[in-house]
């Protein structure tokens, strides 16, 4: 856990005072709507469909039991007793009152939390691998680097009014669990011999123009991380488009310039910055490193498995390997059927805080798949933890499976949404409620976004569902073949600078899905998914071949035929109408 020093604390306190003043001026009519909008957004405050929405930062997804209890109490006191974990590893409250937001921020500051830059045209929360620090395939603990980037990007004087939001992801392991290929900047730790550095990807992103990031620098020695980021950001701040919000992300600039031209511009800028005062030293790294508390692991042996049915399927899906013998990481599923994906009640938050205290050193992580992770559980405690988690409704053994649906809040809450997401997720979960069948289908990412802003990351779901509006009605478009990143790398993962090595295709294994055809009514979606699954099971060459692998091997046609062939027989007229819609 990162522990604040006096400067960190002062900054969040001063931020609360600043926002209190801004809110007061707005309510007094001294700040216009437009001015206050830019200011409130960079404090995570949206004006939503039914109420404001407050997005609370959980830096790189790391949270203590004490903080989670505070979140539970805030949700109870200022909201309706629940919160929503987002794909950016943050927590959203859907019903706060504008006038009370400064008080909420003050309460957050009392537990070293804030809502700084969780929205608006600024740097957003830096995200990373939810198994950071415990994964066996890790080259470097990304938390230290996340914190370095968090500090650098917090209240950056030059880059506080960017053309558009800016998301950075850092991955420290060989497998990419941070989806670096679909971020404005993705940093993937690599080693060149003994030297640590980063492969830098730029220009990825989802939203209405999904683009996979490209490698701008194959190997950036760690000392240069901040100066190089500064060079990229300066080029973006000056030349990123500001005339059209839909073309303002850095991905558009990179695309319009071409990666080679863009790289030249960045390098020209970097030539002036490369050895500036922002160059990092080992002292800097150590200073940040020592501010993290680390679990005091016991010396343990790996445990043999108990054979309780139910426990086994949970163990198989929700328990993950740990680099320290005798320990394991555990995912608490927030994807129980009937509960909106990522939602937790205040009571659950309190209970989870207790679980983390008793089983995992009082810490937990939020995953970008909207689940919670207890990263440091003794293997001998797994069964006891499972029983407790099950009693709380947090032990659905579906991590990595079809019902582990990633979804935005959708039209039930969000003013931007074209369509609802949560009922779709629920209908799919209800259809696929047979665990044995789910396990047989195997690994499958299903993502739902209620509009093309793509908060549910539907472009990188193995199956992606997008809510669209057609003449005021809610319809759903289906994509298949997307992939968030190379979560199953082969080979040693080391880079070979100088272009001799193999550059991963595109953005680190990230791939965008392809639309299978005309969109569907909400009620048809479970059938559509079922048909896609039937086609997959029919075509896979073994159980090891995942849904997404089959799509990549045989293309979308066989899936399309299966879906529209069936739909066509059942509802020919509507399909024809849709085809011309």
């Amino acid at each position: 856990m990162y522990v604040y020093d006096q400067v960190d604390q002062r900054l969040v306190d001063e931020r609360v005072a600043q926002f209190r003043d801004q809110t007061r001026r707005f309510l007094d009519g001294k700040l216009s709507e437009e001015e206050f909008r830019a200011l409130r957004l960079r404090n995570g405050l949206y004006i939503q469909r039914y109420a404001p929405m407050l997005r609370i930062a959980i830096p790189y997804g790391l949270l203590s039991s004490r903080q989670l209890r505070k979140l539970a109490s805030i949700a109870r006191k200022y909201d309706r007793g629940y919160g929503h974990f987002s794909t950016r590893q943050n927590l959203q409250l859907n019903w706060p009152k504008l006038e009370q937001v400064p008080d909420i921020l003050a309460e957050l500051a009392s537990v070293q939390m804030h809502a700084i830059q969780t929205s608006g045209n600024s740097f957003r929360n830096v995200t990373t691998d939810h198994f950071a620090g415990v994964a066996a395939d890790e080259l470097v603990d990304p938390y230290v680097w996340c914190e370095i980037v968090r500090q650098w990007s917090t209240f950056h004087p030059e880059f506080s009014y960017l053309p558009r939001k800016f998301k950075i992801a850092i991955n420290g392991a060989r497998a990419d669990r941070a989806a670096v290929g679909v971020h404005d900047i993705g940093l993937h730790a690599v080693k060149n011999g003994e030297q640590l550095g980063f492969r830098v990807l730029v220009g990825g992103g989802l939203g209405r123009t999904p683009i996979v990031g490209q490698v701008i620098r194959e190997f950036l020695p760690w000392q240069h991380l901040l100066t190089y980021l500064e060079a990229i950001l300066r080029v973006y701040n000056r030349y990123g488009r500001r005339d059209n919000i839909h073309k303002a992300r850095i991905k558009i600039l990179v695309k319009e310039r071409g990666i080679d031209k863009f790289r030249e511009e960045v390098d020209a800028e970097w030539a002036h910055l490369e050895h500036s005062v922002a160059t990092l030293t080992s002292d800097d790294i150590e200073r940040i490193e020592t501010r993290f508390t680390r679990p005091a692991y016991e010396k343990l042996e790996n445990e043999a498995l108990a054979v309780e049915p139910g426990f086994l399927s949970w163990y198989k899906r929700n328990v993950h390997p740990h680099k320290v013998p005798g320990y394991a990481a555990v995912t608490l599923s927030l994807k129980k059927t009937g509960v909106p994906p990522g939602d937790v009640t205040s009571d659950q938050m309190d209970a989870i805080a207790g679980l983390a205290e008793r089983y995992s050193f009082g810490e937990l992580r939020v995953s970008h798949e909207q689940n919670l992770v207890l990263a440091d559980v003794r293997q001998r405690d797994l069964q006891a933890l499972w029983r407790e988690a099950r009693a709380l409704g947090l032990a659905t053994p579906n991590i990595g499976l079809l019902t582990n649906i990633i979804s935005c809040p959708g039209g039930d809450f969000c003013a931007l949404a074209n369509a609802k997401s949560i009922p779709v997720a629920q209908a799919i979960q209800e259809r696929f409620d047979d665990l044995d069948y789910l396990h047989e289908i195997g690994e499958l990412d299903l993502n739902i976004s209620g509009c093309m802003n793509a908060c549910g990351h539907h472009h990188v779901g193995h199956i992606g569902i997008l809510g669209v509006d057609k003449n005021g009605e809610e319809w759903y478009q289906v994509e298949i073949g997307g992939n968030q990143g190379d979560t199953h790398p082969r080979g040693d993962g080391e880079t070979r600078p100088g272009g001799h090595g193999e550059t991963p295709p595109g953005g680190h294994g990230a791939r965008l899905g392809k639309v299978i055809g005309p969109s569907f009514a909400r009620a048809d979606i479970p059938d559509v998914i079922e048909n896609l699954i039937h086609a997959y099971l029919q075509h896979r060459d073994s159980e090891a071949e995942r849904f997404v692998d089959v799509v990549h091997r045989i293309g979308i046609e066989p899936f399309k035929e299966r879906v529209y062939g069936h739909a066509h027989q059942r509802a020919p007229r509507r399909q024809r109408e849709l085809a011309v819609a």
């Binding site: 400067v7 002062r10 900054l11 001063e14 931020r15 600043q18 801004q22 001294k30 700040l31 437009e34 001015e35 830019a38 200011l39 045209n121 500090q151 650098w152 917090t154 209240f155 950056h156 004087p157 030059e158 880059f159 506080s160 009014y161 960017l162 053309p163 300066r234 701040n237 000056r238 500001r242 002036h272 500036s276 005062v277 922002a278």
Partner: protein, 118 residues
Amino acid sequence: MATLIKGRRVVSESSPSRNDKIVRLEPGDDPAAVALEGVTRVEINFPKFGDGRGFSIARLLRGRYGYTGELRAVGHITRDHLYFMERVGFDAFELREGEDPAEALAAFATFSAAYQRA
């Protein structure tokens, strides 16, 4: 009359003398192309509240091009910008109508520390 802050004080604008050489830059202008010789004041315009290009221009003028004269932010400026603007090198600010001058001065002390070294 808009409030003018210079050197963290509210001042009234004196009319330019013939020795003053003033350059005004728009957000899209390239500071590399400005002849800074003999210039006494550079004004950078912020036409919209959220347009941050002027911050980079200021940084470049001060850092890379060694400009030491007055650097004035003009346009849609409220107290909420002052802290960042001062940090990138502005030393004069023309606030938009309706800003309370005394309250605005307090904004320079919004944050008492910074994470960035430069």
